[in-house]
């Protein structure tokens, strides 16, 4: 089974802090994604990557950056956390032509 692992299930950070959310997949997938999920807004794509060191902006990249130094790892960075970034963050990975596999999610609260 494909496993997508997010480093934390729950995280509480202060406004202005730099926050790192880590995601690792174990199936050698090319594509990795970061989404945030909010009630009433569904899943919104923040960034995705289709190869090492490659990244593409999704629908809501403002306030976020990403890093993909190794194929299995895709990190989401909140440069200066704000309260409107309180959300559930979901990492996912896929190989072209297959389904997409999601991690368990990180519920981030910014206070």
């Amino acid at each position: 089974d494909v496993k997508v692992t997010q480093s934390s299930r729950y995280l509480v950070k202060r406004t202005g802090e730099k926050v790192f959310l880590e995601c690792v997949q174990d199936m050698d997938h090319e594509n990795m994604f970061w989404y945030r999920q909010d009630p009433g807004l569904g899943l919104r794509l923040i960034y995705f990557s289709y190869d090492v060191k490659m990244k593409e902006k999704g629908d809501i990249p403002e306030g976020y950056s990403v890093s993909r130094e190794k194929k299995e790892r895709f990190s989401l960075i909140l440069e200066s956390a704000s309260t409107n970034q309180t959300s559930m963050y979901l990492c996912a990975s896929s190989q072209t032509g297959t389904g997409t596999f999601f991690g368990q999610g990180t519920r981030l609260t910014v206070v």
Partner: protein, 107 residues
């Protein structure tokens, strides 16, 4: 980004009733995927549809891709309480999720 409209937003059915959720796009989709997210869980891949007019079945679930590849549906026959959750469609080519349909089942 491109939008995929999903309806209804919410449906509450009696156990044993059927349920259908629809995804509609104004543009042609290369393919579409369906996911289920249980309350408190993460989205889980159900199926991918690629061909025009394609119909696939998984037990009580029937998935259809429209002839014009602009819409898709997921139909559940005789719902059970285990079907509770949110069902999302995902337009892979556009990396866009539908807003999801929340299904609640009364036993």
């Amino acid at each position: 980004g491109q939008q995929v409209m999903q309806i209804p937003q919410y449906q509450h059915v009696q156990e044993g009733e059927d349920f259908t959720t629809y995804c509609n796009s104004s543009t042609t989709l290369s393919n579409i995927q369906w996911y289920k997210q249980r309350p408190g869980g993460h989205p889980v891949f159900l199926i991918q549809l690629v061909k025009s007019g394609e119909v696939k079945k998984q037990k009580r679930l029937t998935f259809q891709f429209g002839e014009a590849k602009k819409n898709s549906s997921l139909h559940i026959t005789a719902t059970q309480t285990t079907d509770v959750g949110t069902y999302f469609c995902w337009a892979l080519g556009k990396l866009v999720f539908g807003a999801g349909t929340i299904l609640r089942v009364k036993s």
